[in-house]
């Protein structure tokens, strides 16, 4: 028979917001008669420093072992009171907050009914607090190093940041070289305000920095093939290819994983209904021509760009397009037409480039609803694009006809899709993707760089379209998140997570399937030679989905045990 708890009830009038609507005297009279209630009193502002000091003192003096604070919403002051209770030497689970302000005082019009409801709420909290037990905390040792997947600019910057913060980094790259998209092909010039910056140089500097850093270990031609464990203690298996294509398997222990796999450009021939040829090229191919030098544009007098046919999203591509055309007009005598739906200018300095391009004689034509049509005229060896630009006005067109632009070279926009292997990696790591295949489901602003699994982060273009600057911001953010997570070798956490009862468990694996955080795993018990369910406390968020789904009721949340909930509801039912 457990000892009877000594419970204290603290009522807060919150100025007079609560006491105006609820009869405190009646409540006090009602609960005074209860045997467990050692103390019941009214305060005006419990959250003020002086009253809080008295509150802590009373807990200690009366040797209370259960507390009910009747005040405002736990959303507002929940953590505040929990902290105060811990400071008074009591476990946080021995505190129950009753929200009288938002749920009683502000709801009822009559004082009588709100007082009745208040008494019910406090009574159910009292029934429950009697059953609530202290929740222990546990300390675990965690690995302080990080695995970064992807050697593009996002991965490089993250690795550099983390090493500067004192963490050890393992950098994996699938290709044989670092630098990612920027090293393969990119706009050679990036122009912001007044400076021309060669992105390739920037990336090469970063590669050099990474290579010379003793805290960063690089594996090229390496891929992650398996990841076990959870936050703080991941066991990663990586496969490294030699020069002779021989495979080598390595095991690493890491504390966190960062995905920086980036994006790629893809030419969707099916969507266009056109195949690429010498006269119809993609934007990447054009960049190749620009990079290869002078002779590439011999005999070409006009180029036509078409954008916006396959999707409305022109980020990254629009940025590149304006820079490319400006480069072409300044260096070659070529007439350029740009046929688009919207011009992308939403970046620093792009409006200026757009203006310059127009001043230099580049013609922008904007179609609205009707998509432009592309035809290859074999007789003249030219490509014709017919479109309808409403801004030109009726007089411009012949009766029923469209504007036809004929050119020597047609440049088509590509789609930007996640890098190859993104899906495979998401399956290995069991993290969710959006409809377009990028990591992270919707609402990336709410929890940027996080995934559904704790300890696995995403950064840069693999979580949605991002330019270089945004990617660099991302890597700064992820580095601080990881530093916060891993800066201590030992992490203390409360055991208020799901607990499995092995005797009841029938190994149906329902919990394993339903857990959104992948905190539940099958574990081999060496001694008994049998498998059992293991819940990783660090990865578990205490959401309770597994508890509600378990058909054998083998799972329990220690802060919401069945008997506690039933006790709480029972009062309200009668």
């Amino acid at each position: 028979m457990p000892q009877r708890k000594k419970i204290g009830i603290f009522l807060c009038s919150c100025g007079d917001t609560i006491s105006k609507a609820v009869n405190f005297k009646k409540i006090i009279d009602y609960f005074k008669s209860f045997k467990e209630v050692k103390l019941i009193e009214e305060n005006s502002f419990l959250c003020k420093p002086e009253t809080l000091f008295n509150f802590k003192k009373k807990i200690k003096d009366n040797n209370l072992s259960g507390l009910i604070v009747v005040a405002c919403s736990p959303q507002l002051k929940g953590t505040f009171f929990k902290k105060a209770v811990e400071e008074a030497g009591l476990n946080f689970n021995l505190l129950s907050l009753v929200n009288l302000r938002e749920q009683c005082a502000m709801v009822y019009k009559e004082k009588e009914s709100s007082t009745k409801s208040a008494i019910d709420s406090i009574a159910s909290a009292l029934r429950r607090i009697k059953l609530q037990l202290p929740i222990a905390s546990k300390t675990v040792k965690i690995e302080q190093n990080t695995l970064v997947i992807g050697g593009g600019i996002a991965g490089l910057q993250t690795a550099i940041n983390l090493s500067k913060l004192g963490h050890l980094v393992v950098l994996l790259e699938r290709e044989s070289f670092l630098g990612g998209n920027i090293n393969i092909n990119s706009v050679s010039l990036i122009k912001y305000d007044h400076n021309n910056i060669n992105l390739k140089e920037v990336v090469n500097k970063k590669i050099e920095e990474v290579n010379n850093n003793s805290q960063i270990q690089i594996f090229t031609q390496a891929e992650l093939i398996k990841l076990e464990g959870s936050v703080g203690n991941f066991k990663a298996t990586i496969e490294i290819k030699d020069k002779d294509r021989k495979k080598e398997i390595k095991n690493l222990n890491v504390g966190s994983v960062v995905l920086a796999t980036g994006c790629q450009k893809f030419f969707p021939s099916e969507k266009y209904g056109i195949n690429l040829s010498s006269q119809i090229i993609s934007q990447t191919q054009l960049q190749g021509l620009i990079n290869s030098g002078n002779d590439s544009f011999k005999g070409i007098s006009s180029i036509c760009f078409v954008s916006g046919i396959i999707c409305d999203d022109q980020r990254l591509k629009g940025d590149e397009l304006l820079k490319q055309v400006l480069f072409l007009t300044t260096n070659y005598k070529i007439q350029i037409y740009i046929i688009c739906k919207n011009v992308y200018v939403a970046e620093d300095g792009l409006e200026e480039i757009y203006q310059q391009a127009r001043e230099k004689g580049i013609i922008f034509l904007k179609y609205d609803q009707k998509k432009p049509e592309i035809k290859l005229r074999t007789s003249t060896n030219k490509i014709e694009v017919s479109l309808y630009d409403p801004l030109l006005g009726k007089d411009f067109y012949d009766e029923g006809k469209e504007l036809v632009i004929s050119c020597d070279l047609l440049v088509l926009e590509e789609e930007i899709i996640p890098a190859p292997g993104t899906k495979k990696l998401s399956e290995i790591l069991q993290i969710s993707c959006d409809e377009e295949g990028f990591y992270q489901q919707k609402n990336i602003s709410l929890q940027p760089v996080f995934t559904n699994r704790k300890g696995i982060f995403v950064v840069g273009a693999c979580r949605g379209l991002k330019n270089v600057i945004q990617t660099l911001d991302d890597s700064g953010m992820v580095s601080l998140e990881i530093h916060n997570l891993l800066k201590e070798k030992l992490v203390k956490y409360n055991l208020d997570r799901a607990i499995v009862d092995d005797d009841k468990c029938t190994l149906c694996l329902t919990c394993l399937r339903t857990c959104p955080h992948k905190a539940i795993q099958l574990d081999q018990d060496e001694e008994l030679n049998q498998v059992k369910i293991k819940i990783n406390d660090l990865a578990c968020e205490g959401c309770g989905i597994c508890v509600s789904q378990c058909p054998a009721s083998a799972l329990n949340l220690s802060k919401y045990e069945d008997d506690q909930i039933i006790a709480e509801i029972a009062v309200q039912m009668t």
Partner: protein
């Protein structure tokens, strides 16, 4: 890092993020703010989700403000303060602050609300319902005492003696500042400069923030002229941006997202409202943009008109006549609307110019902070001064936070190099190599 401290200027969403990160890494932070509360401009925006989340990221600010509960006691917060003088002393800065104590002293005010109830001219109110700290402010325009009528009701009734009718000015000097983070944010452009739209003259031409206020206070969208429900609303993009006539040529980046989400928000709240968006070029944003755009056109029936109105005039009944070029029919069209909402652009804070002179940092033509190396956006021409958030150019809330975190990281690393604390312990390294089985590879 014992003596060094960091000064963060501006306690908007960027400033509090930087301060939070620095405090987490045991760095002494001064956070100064010209208003009496934290949150900045983003406080005037509200959530735009009705049936589902519209990803407007306003809740991020609320969460950031809620987070302050945990660490704010470690931040040296200076409200109502502005920078008066900056002196460089060797590696450090010495900064003189000018603190203007408002009529209701926030240090003394406990937020009891007694004065608000008693004030006969309702001049006292809470500056922002969500502001932290929750303090009242007195409006000079409404207060009887400033209209040559004697009234001391609030003064005599305040139990804490927080009210006085004089502005007190205090000066304070902060020394040993090793780094400064600029997070001064932005200021909405003045729509009165766009004379054709008659903001301030035509009562039914309002800004988007005013529209939000209508919804959160009254619960529906109405015409300010007769307080009747607005059935036909025009949202006009690019007011004060991409417009050489008002000397603001640049795109303001965030308005397309804002206007389109606003339109969707209005439609979700009341499907009978007709919403039209006037635009130049749609700028994509967020995730799955193509899907968002098609859905808002097809499912929500929002009219997208690729044209910017040339004139707005109001008739006697308060109907707005909007004149624009209808590109589909190639005519000049005059259409009547109940309400015109202007998506106005972001300008740098008015006081930023003076501050940049004081700190000797470079400024762009547009007035925003310039960074000499465009790959490191958070750096300025001074090594010790960092810039984050919307003081560099228009940014949305999520971008500001990402930028702020990056700035915080740079500040942390900067302070480390300053104190030569880059860990290069050989013994430690060896241990780590063992841990990662790197040796065997060598």
């Amino acid at each position: 890092m014992s003596n060094s401290s960091v000064l963060v200027i501006g306690a908007g969403v960027t400033g509090i993020t930087v301060a939070q990160r620095l405090v987490e890494n045991n760095i002494k932070v001064y956070l100064i703010e010209k208003e009496s509360y934290i949150g900045g401009q983003a406080l005037s925006y509200g959530c735009k989700g009705v049936n589902s989340c519209n990803d407007c990221s306003v809740c991020l600010l609320q969460r950031k403000i809620k987070d302050t509960e945990g660490y704010f006691s470690h931040v040296l917060f200076k409200a109502n303060s502005e920078i008066e003088e900056v002196i460089r002393k060797e590696k450090n800065f010495e900064i003189t602050l000018r603190k203007t104590i408002p009529f209701i002293d926030p240090d003394k005010c406990q937020g009891c609300g007694l004065c608000e109830k008693l004030c006969p001219s309702s001049a006292i109110s809470i500056s922002h319902p969500q502001s932290i700290p929750q303090v009242y402010s007195l409006s000079k325009e409404q207060c009887l005492n400033f209209q040559n009528k004697e009234c001391y009701i609030c003064l005599n009734s305040c139990p804490f003696g927080a009210i006085s009718f004089n502005h007190k000015v205090e000066k304070e000097t902060l020394s040993n500042i090793s780094a400064i983070v600029l997070a001064t944010g932005f200021e909405p452009w003045d729509p009165k400069l766009k004379v054709e739209y008659g903001y301030g003259v035509n009562k039914n031409v309002i800004t988007a923030t005013e529209l939000e206020k209508q919804i959160y206070i009254k619960g529906f969208v109405f015409r300010p002229s007769d307080k009747e429900r607005a059935k036909k609303i025009a949202i006009i993009q690019c007011v004060g941006s991409r417009d050489r006539s008002t000397d603001s040529p640049n795109c303001s980046r965030v308005c397309c997202a804002y206007g389109m989400k606003m339109a969707r928000f209005l439609k979700e709240r009341d499907s009978e409202v007709e919403v039209s968006i006037f635009y130049i070029d749609i700028q994509p944003f967020g995730k799955e943009f193509t899907k968002f755009f098609t859905k808002s056109k097809d499912d929500y029936n929002i009219k997208y008109i690729k044209s910017i109105p040339s004139q707005i005039s109001e008739d006697q009944k308060g109907k707005l006549k909007i004149k624009y070029e209808d590109s589909q029919r190639e005519t000049i069209k005059e259409e009547y609307f109940d309400l015109a909402v202007l998506s106005i652009t972001m300008n740098p804070d008015k006081k930023f110019e003076k501050l940049s002179e004081n700190l000797d940092i470079w400024v762009k033509d547009s007035g925003f902070c310039e960074n000499p190396n465009s790959m490191q956006t958070i750096k300025t021409n001074q090594r010790e001064i960092f810039a984050a958030g919307a003081c560099q150019g228009p940014k949305d809330i999520a971008e500001c936070i990402a930028n702020a975190e990056n700035a915080a990281l740079e500040v942390i690393l900067f302070l480390r190099t300053l104190n030569n604390k880059v860990a290069k312990n050989e013994e430690q390294k060896e241990k780590r190599e063992k841990l990662l089985c790197l040796k065997e590879r060598k």
